[in-house]
């Protein structure tokens, strides 16, 4: 058992524990902070599995941008009364059953693959080789992804803009 193997199991434990804590927190800010910890663990895992560029992107985009967006929204809307943490038992039980069922089925399917039990040799894709590969093989998909991000920008602006005119705020002041 080499040092890399030990490192993998330590990081895997960190990720699973941090994610489980995030899922079960009542306070949403705590949940987001635990999830940031989980994404840092994922970034270390990516580095271990030979993807240093993706490790950097994971920290910059997931932990840096997406989670901060969640924090912005949580601090922007000040909930006076939090709704109950979980659904009532009648709806919670199917959720638990579906998640556990997915876990069992996927574990059985993964375990039945005999070629996956051999330890893999360590390898690393350098950022430059990865970038050349990405833009030579998948340039069209990269362009489509950039269009998708532009559409998201416009859509978020249109959704988030306050509508002037007969909105709820002005109607209240009129009479």
């Amino acid at each position: 058992m080499s040092i890399l193997t030990l490192l993998f199991y330590a990081i895997a434990l960190l990720i699973v524990v941090a994610t489980a804590m995030a899922v079960t927190r009542r306070n949403m800010v705590h949940a987001v902070l635990y999830l940031v910890l989980s994404f840092f663990g994922t970034a270390m895992l990516f580095y271990l599995l030979g993807a240093p560029f993706l490790a950097a992107l994971e920290i910059i985009i997931y932990a840096g941008a997406i989670m901060v967006l969640f924090l912005f929204l949580i601090m922007m809307i000040r909930l006076k009364t939090l709704p109950g943490m979980f659904f009532p038992v009648g709806q919670l039980l199917p959720a638990i059953l579906i998640s556990a069922g997915f876990l069992v089925v996927s574990s059985v399917m993964v375990g039945r693959n005999p070629s996956g039990w051999a330890p893999m040799p360590a390898a690393q894709a350098s950022p430059m080789a990865f970038g050349v590969y990405l833009f030579q093989t998948h340039w069209l998909a990269v362009e489509i992804a950039s269009m998708l991000l532009l559409v998201a920008l416009v859509g978020a602006y249109i959704l988030g803009r306050r509508v002037r005119g007969p909105s709820a705020d002005t109607r209240k002041e009129a009479p």
Partner: protein, 106 residues
């Protein structure tokens, strides 16, 4: 030598089921969106592991697109949650339909 592929896939499946539980069971729109993020991240872990197993960069390329889709989904989703919150003063997915119809309590 590091771990076998199956251990990575099991970790990915465990993370995915945690995210699925979060999406299905939490009574809060923001936490449901967070669960979707966890599921996308779990898929990314699986792809990077498969990329190492077959020594191909295809899996790593897909993770880039997963990141783009996650960023899109979260920005649109949070804007939609903001609209729902302005109208109904609540982020409960189980809210009254009447509350939505009359444009909120204010």
């Amino acid at each position: 030598m590091i771990v076998p592929l199956n251990h990575i896939l099991l970790l990915s499946g465990l993370l995915f089921s945690l995210g699925m539980f979060c999406t299905l069971a939490r009574r809060n729109l923001i936490m449901m969106l967070l669960g979707i993020e966890i599921m996308l991240n779990a898929a990314a872990v699986g792809f990077v592991g498969a990329s190492l197993h077959w020594q191909q960069m295809e899996g790593q390329a897909i993770v880039i697109f997963i990141l783009a889709v996650a960023a899109t989904e979260v920005s649109i989703g949070l804007a939609a949650i903001l609209v729902v919150y302005r109208r109904t003063d609540s982020v409960d997915p189980d809210m009254d339909a009447a509350l939505w119809e009359k444009g909120g309590s204010r």
